[in-house]
Symmetry: C2
Subunit: 323 residues, 2 copies
């Protein structure tokens, strides 16, 4: 969470000058994005343009070949009324350009703050908005494979190795076996669309109970909509002590189904897919944990948090859709 | 340059609620401030309040006993028309309050961007604004000693030790001797006021040629105005290759003198005080260099940059005011 690349005011002004948005008034590097540098930018505006934008410089981890998918999806969803930021196109019509050897995009600023302790009403709102995104994305013409699918989770945990996983927590090696089970699931009966797959509260902007923005689409991919719902459920419906919050869980699913009812196949697979969703975060966090020195300045996320959520869905997941 | 303390949206909303500025619309952690956490905050506004603020949470290095000086000085200067941010006072009238065991202040947001390659016209502007600050601060009733005065520089370099300094650069131990000379200077004939003493370009906001904001007053202190001018001169008038930029240097001093002409005593001591100003940054950067592991993620500033500027003022400083 930092600004990895220094861009001086003159560099920023020149970059902004490539867009029809007026001239630069303010630019603040913001502490968001794990692998990008981001600035909150204000301009004088021009024509119908807004005056505030997020300028993103893509650092590591992003394959630039995926940018047309990520940025095109934002424009597609915004045009259909989803609360996602539009991308600004430069004077040549491009949604991204190269700066200092890195890809940069100028993206609409959306107001709102990210809830850290969501209320049931907020959970209901995000469920409805997520379903709306899935419906709006159905006719998006591009596709992108999920690089973090269940097979990838199993491969990551396998590469970590049971011995290393055990150094983190004695309960962690069993997650490798569970990940292999998830990787063998047949998801072919599940309806697909474009999905966010990383909709944690810090990727959602809200004003009161209303969702004003979904951001950070850099794990977006084509796949089962149920996976996106279960990721969101696992990310939103546990408190700081990792206890399940039934009020939020019920509200999230109700909100989702108020826009798109789940199919019988989705209801049948809810618990298994939720378990796989948890293992995706167990895997990436375990890998980061083992790769990061104990004394590093960056904060490691504890893999066991999602191992415990896996256990919750294992024990109680099937009952969640029984009502 | 980071956000050191996590404040959730609900924590931020509650804090903002202590001020008469409306309700929270946006809060972005910004990558500014070496020892503080800062958020750019937007609210709905209320009465005559603005809608955008910088929320600062004071982390290390700041002695909270100094906050009335720092924040009071901002209000004093803003009331006299200097381009510095006003502090917002909470419903109890306080300019700062405690949050999570740390002091927090809500400060007016000012537009503008920090130049990285200042033009002579920009240097002239900042000179004039600095002189205006010195005149406006003359009747500020509080005082604060300069914790980074010339004696402190000598003490820091002495504590580093010649052997350690030599590991950074063979030319660095000599700076300790020069710092002792600076510490022995008699500055009693120099007129005093409240001074910023850290007015690098990244602490100045500009729109075009106009100064829209001076920020980061956390080294401000009572002392010779000439020291502030020489710090600013040393910070603004060298290019990326550390070559002196005479055009900016002349413009900066001209701009300053257009508002407050230097006294004969100040002109006589310009070179010596400029050398002392350079040694202040040599000292703090050498100390940081030796304290920071080679593989740390934070960027160390190379102490020799200001040792070379010391040499410039040693060789040419007396001639700068000869015109």
């Amino acid at each position: 969470m930092a600004v990895y690349t220094h861009l001086g005011a003159e560099d920023l002004a020149r970059l902004i000058g490539e867009y029809d948005v007026g001239s630069l008034v303010m630019a603040k590097g913001i502490a968001e994005g794990v692998s990008n540098s981001n600035w909150l930018v204000e301009t004088t505006g021009s024509g119908g343009s807004g005056t505030r934008f997020i300028l993103t410089l893509y650092e590591r981890r992003i394959d630039y070949a995926d940018l047309p998918y990520f940025l095109g999806l934002l424009d597609h969803l915004a045009a259909k009324g989803c609360p996602v930021p539009r991308t600004m196109h430069d004077r040549d019509g491009a949604s991204w350009r190269m700066v200092e050897g890195k890809a940069a995009a100028l993206i609409e600023f959306l107001p709102g703050v990210s809830p850290t302790r969501p209320t049931p009403t907020q959970a209901r709102s995000i469920g409805a908005v997520l379903a709306g995104l899935h419906l709006a994305a159905a006719d998006f013409p591009q596709t992108r494979a999920n690089a973090m699918d269940f097979a990838a989770s199993a491969a990551i945990l396998d590469a970590c190795g049971a011995a290393a996983l055990e150094t983190i927590d004695p309960a962690l090696p069993a997650m490798l076996d569970h990940a292999r089970v998830a990787a063998a699931l047949d998801l072919s009966a599940l309806p697909q669309s474009q999905t966010h797959t990383d909709l944690f509260p810090d990727n959602v902007l809200m004003l009161g109970e209303d969702v004003t923005g979904l951001i950070d689409f850099y794990f977006a991919c084509t796949g089962p909509m149920l996976l996106d719902l279960t990721v969101t459920h696992a990310a939103w419906c546990f408190d700081a002590a990792n206890a399940y919050r039934a009020d939020c869980g019920v509200a999230l699913i109700d909100g989702y189904q108020s826009v798109r009812p789940l199919t019988p196949e989705e209801r049948a697979l809810f618990a298994d897919v939720a378990k796989g969703a948890c293992l995706r975060f167990v895997a990436s966090r375990a890998e980061d944990w083992l790769d990061t020195p104990d004394d590093a300045l960056v904060t490691r996320k504890y893999p066991m948090q999602f191992a415990q959520r896996w256990q919750f869905y294992h024990d109680h997941g099937a009952a969640l859709l029984a009502g």
